[in-house]
């Protein structure tokens, strides 16, 4: 009777490790600064290329996500491990003064750089004081 619980189709009954293994998710170290006109976000995504990174903007929340970089370490056995490899993910709430249609993104040496432009109407304006 108990044998009925096991499916007889060998292929169907194989647990595929690749499909079920949960991938660790890391929060990338990030610098955020202002250069006057723009807000710059620089996030460390080591191992990631342009194709691995997804950037989405939804309801004023900017989310960066990366796929786990594919690395071929076949033929090598790990003997010492200080860092884990996995996905990266982090979200940022944008303030109202950011122009959501004007966000530039680029990747260089595993660092994602986002340039968020301020909308024209909210840029600080210098108000001159006229001397009497």
């Amino acid at each position: 009777m108990s044998a009925d619980l096991v499916r007889q189709d060998r292929e169907e009954n194989v647990t595929r490790l690749d499909d079920h293994r949960s991938v660790p998710v890391y929060r990338p170290d990030t610098d955020i600064y202002d250069d006057g006109d723009r807000v710059i976000i620089e996030a460390d995504l080591p191992g990631c290329s342009v194709d691995d990174i997804d950037i989405t903007l939804e309801n004023g929340v900017l989310t960066i996500k990366s796929q786990q970089p594919r690395q071929s370490r076949s033929g090598w056995r790990p003997i010492y491990t200080e860092y884990g490899e996995g996905r990266f993910e982090r979200s940022f709430a944008l303030t109202d003064d950011i122009d959501q249609d004007k966000i530039d993104a680029s990747v260089r040496n595993g660092v994602l750089r986002l340039e968020l432009h301020r909308s024209e109407s909210t840029k600080p304006r210098r108000i001159s004081i006229s001397a009497k």
Partner: protein, 142 residues
């Protein structure tokens, strides 16, 4: 518990506060030390031919890193400088500055056969064992 409360003894709440503060400081210092001492973080892999060392160094390029190998020690050193035009910081988590990392290797390597490459901010260093050190298969005679 109640019997230990003796109002005649000089119980100073500040002494206890200071003790707690000290404990907290030590705790945070030890955490900070650990994270700052190990840059870059490395992983080591091995096979019969040699070693593969990978290091996460986002933002670095080839010309900012120097490698040297002597006997069974690998030294990775370099420097990055801030090249931004920040007028106001909101968050600063990434690392800048000088670093030196010495890594003891599990076996001798041939210093003339070092192959290092950077890919998307990950440094990969492949080191070969000297020919005479490589493991050999010993056939078992019948």
């Amino acid at each position: 518990m109640l019997s230990s409360f003796d109002p005649s003894r000089n119980w100073d709440p500040f002494t206890e506060m200071r003790w707690l503060q000290n404990q907290m400081n030590q705790f945070f210092e030890s955490v900070a030390d650990r994270s700052s001492s190990a840059f870059p973080a490395v992983n080591l892999y091995a096979n019969d031919q040699g070693l593969l060392i990978t290091a996460e160094m986002p933002g670095f390029s080839e010309d900012q890193v120097e490698l040297s190998v002597q006997d069974n020690e690998l030294v990775i050193e370099g420097e990055t400088s801030e090249t931004n035009e920040a007028t106001d910081w909101h968050r600063k988590e990434r690392r800048y500055g000088k670093f030196v990392r010495r890594i003891e290797l599990p076996f001798r390597v041939d210093p003339d056969q070092v192959d290092a490459r950077f890919e998307n901010g990950v440094l990969e260093i492949e080191l070969k064992r000297p020919e005479e050190d490589k493991p050999r298969k010993i056939p078992v005679n019948r």
